[in-house]
Symmetry: D3
């Protein structure tokens, strides 16, 4: 691998001169009239706070959030949190950047998941559902975005390829769980799992930083999916020469718009079919385990059994006495 010092490997008082991904930059007033620059530096292994003292508007404008930047500086353990005091920051030259250092998922991993996605979708027996899935798979533009998008702004799977990872993981859960419930229609459930978050490709903007699009904020991915499904149903009818059963379209849309499970989480309808109920709970299970794990792994209180208090969860999480950040040695 590269000789890079990954963020999760940094120790106290290391001399650093390497490339990071920049975000959350702020120019803040020193009360003596001086300014300093504060920002986040990240790579695939995590993120660290950095400061450049005595900065200027020019320093602030020299790069954008989402840029790769070359940073000179020194690490400092400060009350249990590691930070980096930068002495120089500039935009990195393309030849200085090793993309794989910054991607949580390597492109071969993404490829493997995309293949698995197609594989699972082709196990579907119901002809209309299989045709519909095929129309999505054939849409190169959609698939390019679907394999690149994150699954969210923060919390679980908030990185390039995160949407694909979440969806394939969920479909594997469907394959493991559905056979235990004979009345569940596995085909419908697989299509639901595939499409439930599909319109996140348009809800979010994620070329550099992750953010909501205007459409995403005003309509949301559940409503955006309606148009997406209508388009592909029309195409599927055109290709097959047969009318797609309207009640089946309705059931697919119902799974999508009800998958948050409660009005207060933006679902305009509660799950009313067995498959919609199963989809909601499986999605919830996967999302909660992913985000709780992440909160424990990312927790900066290294010496405590507990994470900090998370207001949106209404609790601290218990990492336990023996909690170690697994896999840090293999990044």
């Amino acid at each position: 691998m590269s000789d890079r010092r990954y963020v999760c490997q940094l120790a106290h008082n290391e001399q650093i001169s390497q490339v990071f991904l920049a975000s959350e930059k702020q120019l803040r007033p020193n009360r003596n009239g001086n300014l300093y620059l504060q920002l986040q530096l990240s790579d695939r292994s995590g993120a660290i706070a950095a400061r450049l003292w005595n900065a200027s508007e020019n320093d602030y404008r020299a790069f954008e959030n989402g840029d790769y930047i070359k940073v000179e500086g020194n690490t400092q353990l400060f009350q249990g949190n590691m930070q980096l005091i930068a002495s120089a920051i500039r935009r990195a030259r393309p030849d200085e950047v090793q993309e794989t250092d910054f991607l949580v998922l390597r492109s071969d991993e993404i490829d493997r998941m995309a293949t698995r996605l197609a594989e699972i979708l082709r196990t579907i027996h119901t002809p209309e559902l299989r045709n519909l899935a095929e129309c999505f798979l054939m849409d190169a533009d959609f698939m390019a975005k679907f394999t690149a998008a994150p699954a969210g702004m923060k919390n679980h799977h908030a990185y390039k390829g995160g949407l694909l990872e979440h969806v394939v993981g969920l479909m594997e859960l469907v394959l493991a769980v559905a056979p235990r419930y004979p009345r569940l229609d596995q085909d419908k459930l697989l299509v639901g799992a595939f499409l439930h978050d599909a319109a996140k490709v348009d809800e979010l903007v994620y070329e550099r930083d992750i953010a909501y699009s205007d459409d995403g904020q005003l309509l949301g991915h559940m409503v955006l999916a309606i148009t997406m499904i209508d388009d592909k149903v029309r195409e599927s009818e055109r290709l097959s020469g047969e009318v797609f059963p309207k009640p089946l379209v309705t059931e697919i849309k119902h799974m999508v718009i009800s998958h948050h499970g409660e009005y207060e989480f933006g679902s305009p309808k509660l799950p009313m079919t067995l498959e919609a109920v199963a989809l909601h709970h499986l999605d919830n299970l996967d999302a909660k385990l992913a985000s709780f794990t992440q909160l424990m792994v990312d927790c900066p209180n290294v010496e405590s059994n507990w994470t900090q208090y998370h207001t949106n969860l209404g609790r601290k999480l218990y990492k336990g006495a023996g909690f170690r950040v697994q896999g840090s040695e293999e990044i």
Copy 2:
């Protein structure tokens, strides 16, 4: 007018032999092994409970809810509520039915409102919005349903033409109120008022009794509207040969899906534009005044200043000392 005794005119101990609209029929067991038939009889002026003692399964199956039936019987004031004890019930012959006795809105009233609808929509200056509105107006199938549909299952405007009445009323409110707020875009707001409930034409089934369609229950009129708007935008682009501005489509859809104003009432997004906020509050104002008025007018406690307790409102309504059912003389 007809020599009919309208429901709202019936007094104690009248001999009745005329046609009513039937609904909510139930065959219930008498505890001696006998059965009786209970049902609602209505005409355009209101509804009255009726009972046929010693009924049979045959009586129960002799007509459907939503049928016109000929009823013989006697009225009875029973603890402040009027009811009708029927001695005979049969399905009415077509020649016995005077349709206008059963329509809250006469067809000329509906025509006048449809004309007014088109008139208001043609005041729109923004070309794209006006074209879009035109596409709806030109769709004879849509307009037939739009002028026939009720605005809801119960509460306000739950009768043929009720949707049109509510929508035109709301658009008149827009015309009266919007000029007072210079930043409100009256054109957008008029389109929002026109389309906010438009998919109720598919959410409800209302040929005889009013009920929810499967699509209506699984998706709801706010989500159904998305497909409807997409279709007409495509048509408008085809007719005009120009691309419809995508942000404008988004704002229209946003007004529609946010018009219930709160997550708990099934809006997947809260109103975020001035027009969406205005639409929500004007719709709410009109709906609340209409339903409160109806609850007061329909209230069977004739001798009390108060309606009964309405659980969904969390209160009784105060009709006041001088409350009279206005217009009963003119029906």
Copy 3:
């Protein structure tokens, strides 16, 4: 099999003379001064309402809820619901009762599940957890109750053996799902799944009818489990001669008391460990799929795509166009 007409097989106008399980008996006043007896009759395939006209206090006192009774009578399709008009009712003689007609789960099925329970628990690697599980398995009194108890008053698994069925099903889910999440401790999770509802053996009384015990109502099964776990931990320490790690006891208790997942459902703590979160969501998934399925199967609106409105769920359920009660031919 027996020549019995199972409840789910009964059609209109059948002459019946066989044994049923009685419940919900009520003596109700006829408004002529006569009384009639109303009750539920059930066997393993379902339940049917019955009435005995002109009944007396003696008829009412002739048997208890939970008794097997011999019923003579006639079936009647009444507005889409089947009911039975009884002409004679008496307590059944033991030799008239074929127990297997009344058990949803046959004793060999229960035995098989009990064996599977032990089998799964013996896959546990952590010695202390395995010893603890063993202490429960060795407690013949506990196991007798654990294999006999229902999982609830109503909704899912509300029948003899239902608790065991729910728990083994949940443990199978754990085996299928846990390997997908490397940080989950499968051993802890299996113990959590085993014990989360274990104190339902004391929360409920279920020799005949199912009801809550005084302890069950005043403390609930989550609090009752604390004493149960303390007892077995002490026993396990006595047998092994080693101190059971206190933090491990705490984590087990935490899984149990937090498994309802929210304060409003009676959990005094929210899930704060990965295993507690996983247990809550898997339990929820299994319980919801079981109860939604049951509501669809038991739904008396045979001709509708929809179940009735369930107030506690805040919705109707969509059975779909092609919904059939599967397996009725095999009971």
Copy 4:
């Protein structure tokens, strides 16, 4: 007009020497042991943050919030927000202050609105209601406060004359909307609109800064209005020599105490009359449109289509692509 540079006109790096209204002053510790003064400077066009480095307790005590102060300094664009770095601050001499520069509403505008208020109130036909309104209009002390008070602490109409502006605006809405609902008693509704916030004259203190009075916090304007109405009813009876109908007093009070529409917003009763419902919704409409507009206009994110996230609203607001701060050229 004056040669003043209004706050909304200030650009980067302007030399400033003029009078502002001071508020929110704070003396804050510099971490070198030095202090600096932070405050808000405003005029009728808006507000701007200012700082005086190396300040002393004397600087802090040299003026009060609500005072006019003379400020020397320099403007600075700092990360998209304009601020003013002051070099000197002192209390302004009376002859330096041009009151009209600081009033959102000029006194002739206030006079015109007061005239309009009286005009509308004199359209009331119900003699008792008209007499009651007259008693308020004749009370010079009340009218002085009523025309000077703001309508709230922040959000909508939070400036001198804001209460009058909100009330007259609301009464104009009543005149536009009431005729569309024949059962609404326009006279009652006008009195309700006039009095619903009238006790804000005592709830708030607003000679300089706006704040709550002790009475305002302990009782609130809805309860304070009761005493105010009782007083004027007594006066009206004294002047007219006739007993004011008690039920009419009750209905007026009911409109006032229920106009927040929900218990959680401090209404001790829900609206139970048509007029109370109408008042609540019209007031809500006007307040929401005013505050949303203000949040968009005041939004400092000049380059974004979105305002910041407003926690109390639970959302960001969409200003739209073409949003401009209208009227800044005419202040």
Copy 5:
């Protein structure tokens, strides 16, 4: 005492011919076309359901709710509940009625409590508060109503004199508890306890049946109290020739309007003073203990340890194994 059989003494199959207080009368249709009369019969010891078969409109109109009626009939234990099958009912003659049989509180008890009320109020040291209390005590009209009114529609103290009983009980609690908290102003707290429910004399109508007045429903006793306090403050100023301190009036009003403690229970303000907090909690304690006790005593499930489920409380109550209706022997 009288030779009356009190309601709480009635056993199965007693021949009854005596006077009761009538309430909740209903004429209900028998499904053979016959009618029967259903009503509640009560005396000071409790209430019992009664039925008169084959009744007519005349029977129904022969008396009003709240009348004393003479009833002939027979008691019947019917599924654990005692009921009375009447053979004849007529309005009672005055000479047949022994008022004391129907009053929960005898007039000497009421007198004693009224005396105690005055006694406690005269312990107040703060001159203004003592004068204010005196103004209420001197108002014969007020005191007549205050000693006659119930404390509520149902639940606790819903009988003649119940308001006085609750208030004096609460003031005794104040005397017992206040000295334990040195910062509590006992004088203010006593006045708060005295006046918190005082306007119930106008909120309720209670000459015969207890019901809400129009004022009570539209304004509520907390708002009605404002006018009452204003009146007495004016009178107190007139009598003493001194101005009543305005902040003290405000604190008294604040205690009254905040004593329900939460917005959702109709308090427009939350308790913000120590005395308001103390009043809320003491009132709550007394009300809850009184109503829980009453629900246990009145519980008709004589053979169960549990009351029925009370929806508004969200629970059943546990009467316990040894629960006896104490004092039934002394009525």
Copy 6:
């Protein structure tokens, strides 16, 4: 007494050289690259903020929160709040510390309360309850913790001995109030008051700073109490040679687990017995009065009638015009 200047006595510009208890220490970055130390200094009379400019990591590590430290410095009145600018800080030598200066409760006060606790518990007549209480009193280890523990993390009684003070205070309330309600079982209620918070001895860690233990966070004091009660019941049975009545254990546990009164405050069951209801309300009364008083006394806005806004209470508190910090002269 000592010649110490207590925190609550400090005035502007005093030279200080004495011992304080340290807490909430933070080393914070000065934006010039310098660091400063911020901390709280407290003694039994209150707490004051302090700063040491130009501090180092060594200064930060020189002592722990919970240590006694010797501080040199100067007091400063800064915008109404007193603070201390330290020039030197070091850990105090044992001989410099006068423990009684730092204890809110002196050991003789604690002893007196412990004696009173035993005294009250010995008034219990029910033999089993008295034996049970005795088992707790005899457990020296438990009593040592019970008399040392605070009653909470913050708010009311958050200091050494605070638990004992709260419990004894509550039991005194029981003695004062219970006799007023004849159906209340005073013995049960006393035991409930004694044990309701007893497991706080294990829920909290309080040797130096107060914090939650792992058990405390994962199970909470209500669940921890179950094990504690089971242990003592076993011991009581062993000592008395008699079986403790199981229903009585259940009632005691029920009081404990329901004493927070609502699901959302972590009670897994609502109070269902009279004693449980009484315990909840009395505990609430005492806790609310204690914490409101503390918030008023500790309020740093010396010149205002109001405390700051307390988000968790949803309100400011009104200290009133005449509010003085009583007893500051007697500390």
